[in-house]
C-alpha cells in the first residue's frame, strides 16, 4: 500500500535533451575558474577577480536558459537526468556522475548562481584593498562549484561530494584572514562541528545502500517503501543530523556565529543565503523518505522549533552586527527546518522562505559589510549610530531587508514566514500550539533584535564622532562604491517582491510539485489564518515597540554594560552552548585522549619495550659465559656429554 503510494507520487525521470544537456557547464564553469585562479597564482592577481565574476555570471545565464526551457515543458516532463560518466564502478556499487535537473535543483541553481553572482560583483569592491583578493575569488568559485554539485547530483554520493566540498570552501573562507588566530580557530570549529553532522549523513547513506543496494535518488525513492519502519526512522534522524551540522541547527548551532570571522561577502553567500540552507535542501530532496515516517518529521519539526527560539533569543543580546545577523540566520533556518518538518503541507513553504531569506539576509549581510567598510572594519554596533544620513543607499537597502525579515506586511517575510506559522498552528493537538506559539514568539523577538540593530546602527547619537579608529584617526563614514551598492539594491528589490511573487497563487509550490509532491492545504486549525496573521503582526509590532522603548529612545552606552540581568547574561554567552559543548564533549574527550595516551605510553609501549629490555638484559648476562678460556669451554662440553650419557642411561635402566 505504502509502496504503491510512494511510487505513484514520483515523477517519471527522462534523459536530458536540448538546453538541459548543457547542465554540465553549470559545474564546469566555476570549477574551471577556481582551478585557473588557484594554479595561476600571482600572475592572475590583476584579472583574477574578473574571471571569478565571469564564470559565475555565465553559470547563472546557463541556469536561466535551462530554467526557461524547463518552464516550457509539461509538469510530468520536468524531471530530467544527465549522466556524464560512470564515476564509481566497484562490485555492486555503481555510481554515475549524473545530474538531476528538476524544479527543486533548478530553483537552487538560480539562487546559488544568482545571489552568488551579485555577491561576486560586490566582492570586487569589498576586497579591492585586500592583497589576497585572487585567492578569495578562487575559493569563492570553488564554493559555487561544490554547492552546484550538491544540489545537482542525482545520487547520494554526489550529494556527499558537494556537501564536503562546500565544507572545505567554508573552512577556507572562514579562515581567509590567516593571520588572525580567532579566524583560524573559528574555521577549525566550523570544520569539526560540521564533521559531526557529516558522520550522520554518511551513516544515513550507508544505511540506504545496505537496505536498497543503490544510491541514485530515483531508485532509492521508488524502493524506499520496502524498508522497515525502524530503519526509515533511523535514516531520517541521521539525515537530520547531517542537516543540523551544515545548517547550524540545535545542537550543532555554535559554529555558525563564529563563522562570521570570514570576510562579509562570505557570510552573506555561504553562511546566510546558500550553504547553510543545504540542510533544508537535503530534507526537501529526501522527502519521499520523510513522507513515510511521522516520527522522523516530528523530530525535524522539534529541532526547527528549538533552534528558531535559540537563535532569536541570543540575537537580542549581541552587539556585534554580524553575529546578530548570524543568529538571525540560525533562527530563520530554524523556521525552514520547522516547515519541512511539517511534511507535505510545509516542504514548499520551507523552500519559499529559503529563497526569500536568501534575498533579504544576503542583502542584510552586504549592508553590514558596507557599514563595516565605512567604519574601518569595526563590527561593534555600540560604536555606530546616526549612520542613516551618511550612507543613504546602504540605509535604504538595509531597511528594506530589515522590514522583509521582520515580516512587515506585503514584503517577502510577511508571505513566507506567516505561511510557515499558519501551517505550524494547523498541527493537531499540542504540537500545533507549541510549534505555532514558538514561531510567533520568535517572530516578536526577531522584530526586537532587528529593530535594536537598526536603532543602534543608523539612528541616534553619532557615537563614533568621539572615538578613534585602530590607527588613531577619526571615523569618516562614507557610502560604498557602485560595485557594492548595485548588488545591495538588486537584493533589496528581491527582498521586497520575492515573497509576493513566489507565494501568490502558489506559483513556487506548483513549480516544485514534480520534485516535492502536491502542496497540501493545511487542515483547518484551531486558529483561523486571519487570527494567526494578526497574532504574528501584533507580536512583531510589540517587538518593534519594546526595541524602541529600550534602545531607540535612550542613549546607547559605548561600553558594554557589565552588570546585566541573568537572561541577558545567558544570551550573551550563547545560552551556554559553548560551555555545554566544552563540558559534555570537549573535556571528557580530552580526558579520554589523555587516558589513551597514558595507556599507549605505559601499557602498549611498556609491553613492547619491556620485552626488548628483558631479552637485552638477559643476553648481556649470558654473554659473560663467553670467557675466552678454552678450558672452561672444555669443561662445559664435558659436563654436557656427561649429562647426555646420564640421560641415556637413565632412560635405559629406569624406564
Amino acid at each position: 500500500m505504502i509502496d504503491s503510494l510512494a511510487a505513484a507520487e514520483l515523477p517519471e525521470v527522462l534523459p536530458a535533451a536540448g538546453t538541459a544537456s548543457l547542465a554540465w557547464l553549470l559545474l564546469a564553469l566555476p570549477a574551471f575558474g577556481a582551478l585557473v585562479l588557484f594554479v595561476a597564482g600571482r600572475r592572475a592577481d590583476r584579472w583574477g577577480h574578473l574571471l571569478g565574476v565571469l564564470t559565475v555570471v555565465a553559470a547563472f545565464v546557463v541556469g536561466l536558459l535551462i530554467f526557461l526551457e524547463t518552464t516550457g515543458l509539461d509538469a510530468g516532463q520536468r524531471t530530467r537526468e544527465l549522466s556524464l560518466y560512470r564515476w564509481i564502478d566497484v562490485g555492486g556499487l555503481n555510481v554515475d556522475f549524473g545530474l538531476r535537473i528538476d524544479p527543486l535543483s533548478l530553483t537552487f541553481v538560480l539562487l546559488i548562481t544568482g545571489v552568488g553572482a551579485l555577491i561576486h560583483i560586490y566582492s570586487v569592491g569589498y576586497m579591492s584593498h585586500d592583497p589576497g583578493r585572487r585567492r578569495f575569488f578562487a575559493q569563492l568559485n570553488l564554493f559555487v562549484a561544490a554547492m552546484l554539485v550538491l544540489v545537482l547530483g542525482n545520487n547520494f554520493v554526489m550529494l556527499y561530494l558537494g556537501w564536503e566540498g562546500v565544507g572545505l570552501a567554508s573552512y577556507l573562507l572562514i579562515g581567509f584572514y590567516q593571520d588572525r588566530p580567532s579566524a583560524a580557530t573559528a574555521a577549525k570549529k566550523a570544520f569539526l562541528m560540521n564533521r559531526v553532522g557529516d558522520v550522520g549523513l554518511a551513516l544515513a547513506i550507508f544505511l540506504i545502500w545496505l537496505n536498497l543496494g543503490t544510491l541514485q535518488y530515483s531508485q532509492v525513492f521508488a524502493n524506499i517503501g520496502k524498508v522497515g519502519p525502524g530503519t526509515i526512522v533511523a535514516i531520517t534522524v541521521l539525515l537530520l543530523l547531517g542537516a543540523c551540522g551544515k545548517s547550524g541547527q540545535f545542537p550543532l548551532q555554535a559554529w555558525l556565529p563564529d563563522a562570521m570571522e570570514g570576510p562579509t561577502p562570505v557570510s552573506a553567500l555561504i553562511h546566510a543565503a546558500t550553504m547553510v540552507t543545504a540542510g533544508v535542501y537535503l530534507i526537501a530532496r529526501t522527502h519521499p523518505i520523510y513522507d513515510l515516517t511521522e516520527t522522523g518529521r516530528l523530530i525535524v519539526a522539534i529541532i526547527g522549533a528549538i533552534t528558531l527560539m535559540i537563535g532569536a533569543i541570543i540575537g537580542c543580546a549581541y552587539d556585534d552586527i554580524k553575529k546578530v545577523l548570524a543568529y538571525s540566520t540560525v533562527s530563520q533556518i530554524g523556521y525552514m527546518i520547522l516547515a519541512v518538518g511539517l511534511g507535505p503541507v510545509g516542504y514548499a513553504l520551507g523552500i519559499a522562505h529559503l529563497l526569500a531569506h536568501g534575498f533579504f539576509k544576503a542583502g542584510l549581510f552586504l549592508g553590514a559589510g558596507s557599514v563595516m567598510h565605512a567604519m574601518d572594519d569595526n563590527v561593534d554596533m555600540r560604536r555606530y549610530g546616526g549612520l542613516a544620513r551618511h550612507m543613504p543607499i546602504t540605509f535604504v537597502t538595509f531597511g528594506l531587508g530589515y522590514l522583509a525579515l521582520i515580516g512587515f506586511p506585503f514584503l517577502s517575510g510577511y508571505f513566507t514566514k506567516d505561511a510557515i506559522i499558519e501551517a505550524a498552528f494547523a498541527r493537531p493537538g499540542w504540537e500545533g500550539w507549541v510549534f505555532g506559539l514558538a514561531a510567533t514568539v520568535a517572530a516578536g523577538l526577531t522584530a526586537f533584535y532587528m529593530t535594536r540593530l537598526m536603532f543602534m546602527t543608523f539612528f541616534g547619537e553619532k557615537r563614533w564622532e568621539h572615538l578613534e579608529t585602530r590607527d588613531g584617526g577619526h571615523y569618516h563614514p562614507h557610502e560604498s562604491p557602485a560595485s557594492m551598492t548595485v548588488p545591495m539594491i538588486v537584493l533589496a528589490v528581491g527582498s521586497v517582491f520575492a515573497g509576493f511573487l513566489l507565494t501568490q497563487g502558489h506559483v513556487l509550490a506548483n513549480w516544485l510539485t514534480p520534485s516535492l509532491g502536491e502542496l497540501q492545504e493545511a487542515p483547518s486549525s484551531t486558529l483561523a489564518p486571519a487570527a494567526v496573521t494578526t497574532l504574528v503582526l501584533v507580536s512583531a509590532a510589540l517587538g518593534v515597540l519594546i526595541a524602541y522603548l529600550a534602545v531607540g529612545r535612550r542613549p546607547t552606552p559605548v561600553e558594554r554594560p557589565a552588570h546585566v540581568s541573568f537572561p541577558v547574561q545567558a544570551a550573551r554567552r550563547d545560552l551556554y552552548a559553548n560551555a555545554i559543548n566544552e563540558a559534555v564533549i570537549a573535556t571528557p574527550g580530552t580526558w579520554l585522549s589523555r587516558f589513551l595516551v597514558y595507556l599507549d605510553n605505559r601499557g602498549v609501549d611498556g609491553l613492547v619495550n619491556g620485552t626488548a629490555a628483558l631479552l637485552g638484559g638477559s643476553s648481556g648476562r649470558l654473554r659473560r659465559l663467553q670467557t675466552g678460556f678454552v678450558r672452561s669451554y672444555a669443561l662445559t662440553m664435558l659436563g654436557g656429554a656427561v649429562l647426555v650419557v646420564a640421560a641415556l642411561l637413565a632412560v635405559r635402566f629406569v624406564a
Binding site: 670467557t627 675466552g628 678460556f629 678454552v630 678450558r631 672444555a634
Partner: protein, 99 residues
Amino acid sequence: MSPSNYLLLSALLFTIGAVGVLVRRNAIVVFMCIELMLNAVNLSLVTFARIHGALDGQVMAFFVMVVAAAEVVVGLAIIMSIFRTRRTASVDDANLLKY
C-alpha cells in the same frame, strides 16, 4: 681375559685425558691428552667390535685414527704459529676472543 678389562682401561685412559685437558695449561700437553682420549675411544670401539663379533667398530677406529692424524697436523700448525707470535704455548693466554 674378560673384555670388560679393556673397557675399564679405556675408561681410565679417557678420564686421564679429560682431566688433563681441563687442568693443564700447556697447549702441547692438552693436545696429547686429547690424543689420549681419542685412543681410549678407539680401544673401546675395538673391544665392542670383538664382543659383538662385528667389524663395524674396527672400521670406525680406523676413521678416528685418520681424523686424529689430520687434526694433529692442523692443531700443531696452529700451536706453532701462536707460539711464534705470542712466545707462549699456554692455552689460558690465548683468551682474546671473548665477550
